[in-house]
């Protein structure tokens, strides 16, 4: 595995076949989790994924589409076109140095522009494969780790993950709240209107032990999926 701590020469000699790029966010995470939750979370996951894939790990982007969490203090965001432009520049920088396989790992649920950005590459560059796992966190197919599921924001999943990777910065107090509306309401209103304390789910159920299992499961699942998908995409394009 190669990363920002290697010299250009070391990376050139190691010739990693895959590059991994994580996208984080700096945004409100209720009363108990740090603003950097998504960024720290995606750093933890991509570091492990890159190690397993023996890939080049691009430093994760700390910022993305968090405007729905604004203007709650400390939240900063990129607009959709800005995020798409960053992803494009990163992928093409990797392409220019010989990478043909790029794995994007999205650490923030609100980055709905990514799918469009990635599709554009795969249609426009026949010898570049850019993939992103369809669902960053385990879905209902793995109910064993979490009691009430991942939740939408600052919930059981994120609280568990942060307790595991960044426990000293997680506060004791928790507010559980399930808004009486669907997640599409984040298309219509800032989160502060939907949930006063910026939470959507059950953070009180979070534990470090669940977080460890969750991270391990995510990493394993992303690595398997990435290997399989790079192979399939390559074969499909060759046929």
């Amino acid at each position: 595995m190669m990363d920002m701590w290697n010299t250009s020469l070391e990376i050139a000699e190691a010739k990693p076949g895959i590059a991994v790029f994580g996208i984080g966010a700096v945004e409100q995470h209720s009363i108990h989790l740090p603003l950097g939750t998504d960024w720290l979370g995606v750093c933890a996951v991509t570091e492990r994924v890159a190690r397993d894939l023996d890939a080049f790990l691009v430093p994760a982007l700390p910022f993305s589409m968090s405007q729905c969490q604004g203007p709650m203090a400390g939240t900063v965001w990129l607009k959709p076109k800005t995020l798409a432009a960053v992803v494009k520049d990163v992928a093409l920088s990797l392409y220019a140095q010989g990478f043909r396989k790029v794995l994007i790992v999205n650490g923030h649920g609100g980055n709905f522009v990514l799918e469009a950005a990635i599709r554009q590459f795969n249609l426009g560059y026949p010898d570049l494969i850019v993939i992103m796992p369809p669902d960053f966190l385990p879905g209902p197919d793995d109910p064993k780790i979490l009691d009430k599921g991942v939740g939408i924001h600052a919930s059981e999943g994120e609280t568990s993950t942060q307790l595991f990777i960044n426990g000293e910065h997680v506060k004791e107090a928790r507010v559980d709240y399930m808004p009486p509306v669907g997640r599409e309401f984040l298309d219509y209103a800032f989160i502060g209107y939907i949930s006063e304390k910026g939470v959507w789910g059950y953070p009180s159920l979070g534990t470090s032990e669940k977080g460890e299992r969750l991270i391990n499961y995510q990493v394993k699942r992303i690595v398997e999926w990435a290997r399989e998908t790079f192979d399939r995409a390559e074969n499909l394009r060759a046929s």
């Binding site: 190669m2 050139a12 400390g74 990129l78 960053v86 220019a96």
Partner: protein, 257 residues
């Protein structure tokens, strides 16, 4: 008091930071001896110390690890944003800070150097344009940009023998890395100083000008010089920021007929 990404939103709300500090680095080749993340490592260390040194409540953002590294495009490990992308990143972040009531923003834009001035940035040059545009678009905003080794240029020139010809992966940044992360420095690098002016960086790729990926004299580096440079850069950057905001406060309180 200093807040950062490890605080909760409610802690930042209670602290009511008046100033935000946004460091913009880059991920790019740094010769045969320094890691591609060199600028992030150095800038993060400087930005945190600067944020701690400023008076008032400060919100320090994570260091943006990607910048306009087009000069090094194609070399392993280099990630280059287009100028328009970085401009949008800086503008979006400043506008999100403004939306939560933070009206003073300091962009610490790359490292700069002793042969630069505060008029024109060395790295990530588009940050200047972004900051200027934000100040036009939002009259209530005071955004400034600063490069630590430029505002401490007099000290840097005293500490380093090759300060005037130090542009990339040279004596200055190698010394600072020897001080901050000696295990990440692989050997002493290869000295190279091209016989042209730095405007050539607008015309040709870096490798065409400097085949070893270095413009400067890294073999002269030492951890001791690095430590002195860090101290001077932090001190002078804090002074520059406080002086600049004081000037702006005075100027903007003027009333014209």
């Amino acid at each position: 008091m200093l807040c950062d990404y490890q605080n909760t939103t409610f802690e930042v709300k209670d602290a009511r930071p008046e100033i935000a500090v946004l460091p913009i680095a880059a991920t790019e080749q740094h010769g045969s001896h320094l890691p591609v993340g060199t600028m992030s490592v150095v800038l993060e260390a400087i930005a945190r110390r600067v944020a701690e040194g400023l008076s008032g409540n400060v919100y320090l953002l994570p260091t943006m690890p990607l910048g306009t590294s087009g000069l090094h495009r194609g070399t392993a490990g280099t990630i280059a944003l287009e100028w328009s992308t970085l401009m949008d990143v800086v503008c979006d972040l400043i506008e999100s800070l403004l939306a939560q009531g933070i009206r003073k923003v300091v962009v610490i834009d790359g490292l700069g150097g002793a042969s630069e001035t505060t008029v024109r940035p060395r790295e990530n040059y588009i940050v200047k344009t972004a900051v200027r545009q934000m100040n036009y678009d939002h009259p209530e905003l005071d955004a400034i940009w600063v490069q630590p080794f430029t505002v401490s240029g007099a000290d840097i020139a005293e500490i380093f023998q090759s300060a005037e010809t130090d542009f990339h992966a040279g004596e200055v940044v190698t010394s600072v890395m020897l001080c901050l992360a000696p295990e990440a420095v692989k050997g002493s690098g290869q000295d190279f100083v091209p016989q042209v002016g730095k405007e050539y960086l607008d015309f040709v790729r870096f490798r065409e000008l400097c085949p070893s990926g270095v413009w400067g004299r890294p073999t002269l580096a030492s951890a001791e010089k690095g430590e002195r440079a860090l101290e001077a850069a932090v001190r002078r950057t804090v002074e520059y920021i406080e002086e600049s905001f004081a000037h702006l406060a005075r100027m903007k309180s003027r009333v014209y007929d």
